[in-house]
Each structure stands twice: as structure tokens, then as C-alpha cells.
């Protein structure tokens, strides 16, 4: 054998085996070459792959392995040394890279594994979050339901609607099988089933309120789970396999008075209703916390809505009541008005009808008086005249009575002769009495004052009425009139216990008794005597009726005079006595302030007190001015003294009542002042009296003075008395009759 560079295989190659090896190697090489390609392709595709370096290494390893196997292809046949060298190099390289890769993989694989772990972890987390989100969504939806429910409940003020809506909405939101409301009865001892959702059970079913379970629910404002077998929950027809859970919650029933400003009525309410909610049976549902919260919230809202509805109901009812009352009052008012109008019309007509004949009587009687008459006739005519005047006064008083009732009548106070009044009454009554053959006696006590202050006309009317009645109702016998000043012991009458008169210095109480021996009065009828138009039965005989206005008017007048009037009688046929007490003033003692320029008292004495009377004195002589001023001030006047005509005209105001012009200023000045004063005060009322003081007795002066409109002339020197009489005459008459 020759030594060749070829390397020959050890054993002769089996041709088939060789072929298969050849093909396998080829495919291996192919695979080895394509793997990196794939890797590169896919890595390029993915954006993130942190291990590029590893990939490169792995790629290199694979490529070299492929190369090795590829070169191996040539070694099956005889191959040159170059091939062997290349083969060897490839093998060496491959060995290096593979070792390097192996070493690298040790580092890499745990990392890759942990990535996997993290992935699993994240997936778990995502699942959990999903679950939670589901829960939140459920809650949010529940919240929405509550809001909607509340809105529904609060959008109506009708009790029934509120409750019905509550149940419906709750049922829908929570998918309840049954929802019921138990309200306390009027007595508060039982709970009555008032509303249910599905009308499955009769409404009206009651349950006593004192059950421990119910107390438990009422004692807390939370929803409480109760047993499905409790009486309140036993609403469904039995036969279900497994009843769902039941929850009950209290609904406070609030009243108007429970609303304090500061504290929400929690503890003060005592009345509760019970709301029972049942989950569908045969479901595995449980009451969730959020559902319970929903129920509690709803219960509260329902309470508020119910109370609002109650308030509204109350106010509506009150308003209706008020309207009714209003209508009734309006009607009553109109009726009253009509009645008053009717009465006034009647009175007016009656008045007129009565006045016309009265007028005729009075006119003709007074005409008759003017003619030639015998004394007897004259007396008769006078009596007729007086009676008709009285009657005219009575007619006036019919109108007065209505005024009396309004309280608008006032007495005409004046000084009059008391004794004369009695005499006049006697004179008026005597003719009639003598016709009936009744004797009349008048006895006035000695301490009765001659003059008194009061309403003369009306006192006479009362007296006449009473005496007239006495005469009217007596067929025979006598009538006695007694008058005296009432002392305290006589003032208190058992019949008039409320009457506590207090005599004083300015007043006295006149007590008059009119006793007759007439028909008498039934004691039962006495109270009716003084009422208007009241008739006492036995007197409807041929006598004119005992009713009428007379005594009623008398009573009112007497009351106005701060007195009392009453009648006593022992019975029918036993006569009767009328008593009345009136309060009269004592003239001269009274302290009416008599302002000198309003002289009401027609007395003979001059007012001596000119206090406050404002006067202006004009005198250019300072001594004279001072003397006149002193004189007037001594009389109590308020004097303003001036020294010139201009000043005089300037200072005079409507408050000043008199202006004294001293005419020692010669000639025209005083007249000029008078003229100017007339100009200044055009209204008569404002202008003070203008009086000239002069020492000149000349007629000319007097004429000049009256020409310019002076109210008087006074001759100097003036004494105190003279000034006094001048002032009083001025103020009483408005001018000086003659120069004083």
C-alpha cells in the first residue's frame, strides 16, 4: 500500500448504511440551519425579547452544529485533508460555542421559569379584580335603585301611593318574593297587615305587638333577620320546600310634634310599623350587607315620606275646615247685615209715620195756645203740648234705643231744677190720674238739693214712664212718689247685688220710689219686665199691652246714669213698687274746668278765673304798659306787652284772645292797628277781641273805634273789678255792651 493523504475509513463502508447516514446528516444540517432562521424571523416579529444575546449564541451553536453535520457529508467518502481540516475546525468551534451556550443556559432558564410564575400570578389577580368589580357594579346598581325608589316614594304625598310604591320598588330591586307592611292599629296593641306586594294574603290580619321578636326589631334601627316561621313572615302558603330568608325592619311613624329643630326624632317616637321582606324560597340567596343597608335606608325614607303625607293631610283638612267656617261666617254676617238694615228701615219708616201726626199735634196745639182761651182751656192745651212734646221725645228715643244698644248714646248733662222736674211730672200725670180717681202724692226729702247736674230730659222720661205705668195699671187707690238722697245703707239692694255705688263730693245718688196699689205683677214675670217687647200673659186684658219699649229704654237710661232700676211686687192684686237710683252731679262742687270763653253754666256769677287767657297789651307808655300788664296778670292772664303798633301786629297770634290797645297814643295809631289786625286775621274765629283803652270820654273816639271794628272801648283808669267785668263780658258776649 502506498501512503496517501487520504484518510480511509476503518471498515469498508456498507453502501446502504452509508446512504442513510448521508441523508440524515443532510436533513439535520438543514434543520439546524433553518432553526435560527425561524428564530430570527419570530424574534423580529415580536417587539420585546430581552434575550437577544442568548439567541445569537444559540443561533451560532446551531449553525455550527449544522455546519458540522454538513461537512460530515463529505467524510463518508474519501476526502481530502482539507475537508478533514475544515471538519475539525468546525467541530472545535461547535464545541466551544456549545459549551458556552450550555453555561449560559444555566443562567437563563431560571429566569424564564420565573416569568412563567409571574404570569400565573397576574392572571390570578386579574380574576380577582374582575370579581370585585362585579361586586361594586352590583352595589352601584343597588344604590341607583335606592335613589330611584326614594324618588318614587318622595314624589308623591299620598300615603297609599307611597307605601305601595315602596313595596313594589323594593320587591323589584331586591327581587323579593314577598314584601309586607304591618301598621299599628289605633289602640297600639296590635300590628295589622296593611299592604302586601302580591296580594297573596288577606289584609287585615293582625298580630299582637308585644311579641319579643317584634320588640327586638323595634329596638334597633337596623334590619334584622327573623325566622321565616314567625307570625309576621308566615304569609306564604306552606308547602314550599325551603323558605327564603326573611328580614324585618322598623319604620318609625312620625307625628308633627316629633319634629324638633335640633334632634332628629329617634327616641321620642313610639309608634312603629313593621316591614317584612322575604327572599324567594328555594334559592340559595342570602341577605347581603348592602341589601340590608338598602332596606334600612328605604325604611327611613318611607318614614319621612309618610310623615310629610300626614302633615299635608292635616293641613288640607284644616284648610277645608277653615273654608267651611268662612263660608258660614260670611253667611251669618250677611244675614246680620240684612237684619240690621231691615230694622233700620223699619225704624226709619215708623219714625216718619209717627212723627208726621206728632208734628201736626204739636203745631196745632201751639197755635191753639196763641188764641183766646179760658184758663182751664189754657191748662189743657198746655198739658196737651207738653205730652206731645214728650211723645215726640219718645219717638226720638225709639231710634235712640238702637243707638243705646250700640252704645253710642250719650247723656246731655246740664244743670236743672230737680224740684221743678218732679212738679212737672206731677202736673203731667195729675189729669189722667184724676180721671181714674187715683190720688198721687209726691214727697221730696228735705236734703234733696234743688239743683242737680244730669240729663233732665231723660230723667223726666224715666220718671214719667214709671209713674205712667203705675197710673196705667192701677184701677183705684193711690200712687205715691218718694224721692230722697240715697245713703249708703239704702244703696245696697239685695236685688241689685252688683251695684256698689260710691257717693262722692261731686255726686249724689237720687233714689225714687213709685208705689201703687194696682194690679201687681206676678213675681215670675218680673225679670221679663225690662226686656224689650216682652209681654206678660195676664196683662193682655183690655188694657194696652204691658210690653213695649218703655221699661227697656228706662233701664238703659238709668244704667247710663250709673244707676239701677227694679220693680218689686208681692203678687197679683197686691200693687207694685218701682225703685230707681240714679247718679246726679252736684252743681258748684264739681270741678269742671270752665274755660272762660266757653261759658256753659248759665249762672249769675262771673267766672273769676281767667287763667291762661292769652292777651296782648299795646301801650307805648312804659308805666301804663306795666300797670295794665300787672292788672291782667293779677287776674291770671298770660300777658304779652308791646310798645308799638308794628310790634303789636307782629306778635298777635290766633292763640291770643284779647288785644288791649292803649289809646293814649294819640289819633290814628290805635285805629290803624285795629285795621291791620282785621286784615291779618280774616277768619272771625282766629281774631282776638280788640279793645281800646282810653282816658278820653269823647264820643268821636268811640265812633272811630267802632268804625275800625273794635270790639269795645274801656275808659281809664281801670280798676281790677272793672277789668274783670270787661273780660267776662267780652268772653261771654263777644263784645262790650257799652263803654265800661
Amino acid at each position: 500500500m502506498e501512503a496517501c493523504n487520504c484518510i480511509e475509513p476503518q471498515w469498508p463502508a456498507d453502501e446502504l448504511l452509508m446512504k442513510y447516514q448521508y441523508i440524515s446528516d443532510f436533513f439535520i444540517a438543514l434543520a439546524y440551519f433553518s432553526i435560527p432562521l425561524e428564530l430570527i424571523y419570530f424574534v423580529k416579529k415580536s417587539a420585546v425579547f430581552p434575550y437577544r444575546w442568548v439567541l445569537v449564541q444559540f443561533g451560532a451553536f446551531i449553525v455550527l452544529c449544522g455546519a458540522t453535520h454538513l461537512i460530515n457529508l463529505w467524510t463518508f467518502t474519501t476526502h481530502s485533508r482539507t475537508v478533514a481540516v475544515v471538519m475539525t475546525t468546525a467541530k472545535i468551534l461547535t464545541a466551544v460555542v456549545s459549551c458556552a451556550t450550555a453555561l449560559m443556559l444555566v443562567h437563563i432558564i431560571p429566569d424564564l421559569l420565573s416569568v412563567k410564575t409571574r404570569e400565573v400570578f397576574l392572571k390570578n389577580k386579574a380574576a380577582e379584580l374582575d370579581r370585585e368589580m362585579g361586586l361594586i357594579r352590583t352595589q352601584e346598581e343597588t344604590g341607583r335603585h335606592v335613589r330611584m325608589l326614594t324618588h318614587e316614594i318622595r314624589s308623591t304625598l299620598d300615603r297609599h301611593t307611597i307605601l305601595k310604591t315602596t313595596l313594589v320598588e323594593l320587591g323589584r330591586t331586591l327581587s323579593l318574593e314577598e314584601c309586607a307592611l304591618w301598621m299599628p292599629t289605633r289602640t297600639g296593641l296590635e300590628l295589622q297587615l296593611s299592604y302586601t306586594l302580591h296580594h297573596q294574603n288577606p289584609v287585615g290580619f293582625t298580630v299582637p305587638i308585644q311579641l319579643p321578636m317584634i320588640n327586638q326589631v323595634f329596638s334597633t334601627n337596623r334590619a334584622v333577620k327573623i325566622s321565616p316561621s314567625s307570625p309576621v313572615a308566615r304569609l306564604r302558603p306552606s308547602g314550599k320546600y325551603m323558605p327564603g330568608e326573611v328580614v324585618a325592619v322598623r319604620v318609625p311613624l312620625l307625628h308633627l310634634s316629633n319634629f324638633q329643630i335640633n334632634d332628629w326624632p329617634e327616641l321620642s317616637t313610639k309608634r312603629y310599623a313593621l316591614m317584612v321582606l322575604m327572599l324567594p324560597s328555594d334559592s340559595a340567596r342570602q341577605w347581603h350587607v348592602h341589601e340590608l343597608e338598602l332596606v334600612e335606608v328605604v325604611a327611613d325614607q318611607v318614614a319621612v315620606a309618610l310623615s310629610h303625607a300626614a302633615i299635608l293631610e292635616e293641613s288640607m283638612r284644616a284648610r277645608d275646615l277653615l273654608m267651611q267656617q268662612n263660608v258660614a261666617l260670611d253667611l251669618a254676617r250677611r244675614e246680620a247685615e240684612t237684619a240690621v238694615r231691615a230694622r233700620n228701615d223699619f225704624l226709619a219708616v215708623m219714625n216718619h209715620e209717627m212723627r208726621t201726626p206728632m208734628h201736626a199735634i204739636i203745631a196745632l196745639s201751639s197755635l191753639l195756645q196763641e188764641t183766646e182761651l179760658t184758663p182751664e182751656q189754657r191748662l189743657m192745651v198746655e198739658t196737651i203740648l207738653k205730652s206731645s212734646n214728650l211723645l215726640a221725645a219718645l219717638i226720638n228715643d225709639v231710634l235712640d234705643l238702637s243707638k243705646l244698644e250700640d252704645g253710642s248714646l250719650q247723656l246731655d248733662m246740664g244743670t236743672f231744677n230737680l224740684h221743678a222736674l218732679f212738679r212737672e211730672v206731677l202736673n203731667l200725670i195729675k189729669p189722667i190720674a184724676s180721671v181714674k180717681k187715683l190720688s198721687i202724692t209726691l214727697s221730696l226729702s228735705s236734703d234733696l238739693p234743688e239743683y242737680a247736674i244730669g240729663d233732665e230730659k231723660r230723667l223726666m222720661q224715666v220718671l214719667l214712664n214709671v209713674v205712667g205705668n203705675a197710673v196705667k195699671f192701677s184701677k183705684e187707690g193711690s200712687i205715691s212718689i218718694t224721692a230722697f238722697v240715697a245713703k249708703s245703707e239704702y244703696l245696697r239692694d239685695p236685688r241689685a247685688p252688683e251695684f256698689f255705688p260710691v257717693p262722692s263730693d261731686n255726686h249724689f245718688y237720687l233714689r225714687i220710689q213709685v208705689k201703687d196699689t194696682g194690679l201687681g205683677i206676678n213675681p215670675q214675670d218680673i225679670p221679663k219686665l225690662f226686656t224689650k217687647f216682652a209681654q206678660s200673659q195676664p196683662l193682655t186684658t183690655k188694657n194696652s199691652s204691658g210690653g213695649g219699649l218703655g221699661l227697656a229704654i228706662c233701664k238703659r237710661f238709668v244704667n247710663l246714669m250709673e244707676g239701677q232700676i227694679w220693680i218689686e211686687s208681692e203678687g197679683l192684686g197686691k200693687g207694685s213698687t218701682a225703685f230707681f237710683i240714679v247718679k246726679l252731679g252736684i252743681p258748684g262742687h264739681s270741678n269742671e274746668s270752665r274755660l272762660p270763653f266757653v261759658p256753659k253754666v248759665p249762672g249769675n256769677h262771673m267766672p273769676t278765673n281767667f287763667s291762661g287767657l292769652k292777651i296782648v297789651v299795646m301801650d307805648d307808655n312804659s308805666v301804663g304798659r306795666m300797670v295794665t300788664k300787672g292788672l291782667l296778670m293779677h287776674l291770671g292772664c298770660d300777658v304779652l306787652a308791646v310798645g308799638s303798633a308794628d310790634e303789636c301786629v307782629r306778635v298777635v297770634t290766633p292763640e291770643h284772645k284779647v288785644v288791649f290797645l292803649d289809646a293814649s297814643v294819640p289819633g290814628a295809631d290805635t285805629c290803624e292797628v285795629a285795621v291791620r289786625l282785621h286784615e291779618k286775621f280774616s277768619k272771625r274765629l282766629d281774631r282776638p277781641f280788640i279793645v281800646a283803652l282810653t282816658g278820653n270820654t269823647d264820643r268821636m273816639v268811640k265812633e272811630n273805634c267802632s268804625r275800625v271794628g273794635m270790639d269795645g272801648v274801656v275808659l281809664k283808669p281801670i280798676s281790677v273789678d272793672k277789668m274783670r267785668s270787661v273780660l267776662s263780658e267780652l268772653l261771654e258776649h263777644g263784645f262790650l255792651a257799652e263803654s265800661q
Binding site: V623, M626, H634, S664, P717, S719
Partner: protein
């Protein structure tokens, strides 16, 4: 109270003499009547004003009568004033003198006027004297604790 009684008697005598002699007339009594608690110094005040006024008037009279051309109207005016004030006080003689004076003024008798001016002046000072004495007496009585007797 011996002194009071004495003083009072003195007063009464004096004032009666004044009335008798015509120095004062009833008007003075009226003035006295006007004096009361609200006006306790009334008489004194009036009399003082009278004195003042009169002095002035007399001066004016004198000066107006000394003019070259005498304005009788003005003189008459003054005399009229004087008459008024004296009669207000009750100085009777002064008043009478004034009345006569006025006549001369009307006649425009300068001589008569001058003469009467003197007369009036004289009367005035006389009555002034008397009044001062009277008022002094009154004061004494009051100081001694008595009351001034009123003359009717």
C-alpha cells in the same frame, strides 16, 4: 310788736295825708291791689319805672322847649305821655298839671309851657319824694315782720 304797730300807724297816717292832699289818688290803691304773691314787688317796680321815665320825659321837654323853633306837637306828645304815666301810677297832682300844660301846648303858648314845665317838674319831684318815703316805710314794716295795711 310794738314797733310794727307804730310803723303801721305811721304808714296809714302818711298815706291818708297823701290822699287828702291829692298827691295820690285811687289808682295807687289799685296798684297796691295788684301786688300779690306772684308779684310781690309790683308797686316798687312800677314806681321805679315811673321815676325813670319821668326824668327822661322832663329832660326831653326841657330841651324841646329850648329849641329855636319849638315843635309844639312834639311837646304835646311828651306831655301826653307824662300825663299817661302819672295817671297810671296815681300821681294826681302831676296829672292835673299835665292836663293844664297841654292846653298851653294847644295854644302854642311858649311862656305858659315853660311855666308849666316848671310846675310839672316841681309836682313830680314832690310826689317822688313822698312815694319814696312811703315805700321806705313799707320796707321797714316788712322788715320788722309786719304786713302793710291796705287802704280802701
Amino acid at each position: 310788736m310794738e314797733i310794727v304797730g307804730q310803723l303801721q300807724k305811721q304808714y296809714v297816717d302818711f298815706i291818708n295825708s297823701l290822699f287828702r292832699e291829692g298827691y295820690l289818688d285811687d289808682q295807687y290803691v289799685q296798684l297796691q291791689k295788684l301786688q300779690d304773691d306772684s308779684n310781690p314787688e309790683f308797686v316798687v317796680e312800677v314806681v321805679s319805672i315811673f321815676f325813670e321815665d319821668s326824668e327822661k320825659l322832663l329832660n326831653d321837654l326841657a330841651s324841646s322847649l329850648q329849641q329855636q323853633v319849638v315843635d309844639f306837637k312834639k311837646v304835646d306828645g311828651y306831655v301826653h305821655q307824662f300825663k299817661g304815666s302819672s295817671s297810671s301810677v296815681g300821681a294826681q297832682r302831676v296829672k292835673n298839671a299835665c292836663v293844664a300844660f297841654r292846653n298851653f301846648c294847644d295854644e302854642k303858648n311858649l311862656d305858659g309851657c315853660s311855666r308849666f314845665l316848671n310846675l310839672v317838674k316841681q309836682e313830680f319831684y314832690l310826689v317822688k319824694n313822698k312815694l319814696e318815703t312811703l315805700l321806705r316805710l313799707e320796707q321797714q314794716i316788712l322788715q320788722a315782720g309786719g304786713t302793710v295795711p291796705l287802704i280802701e
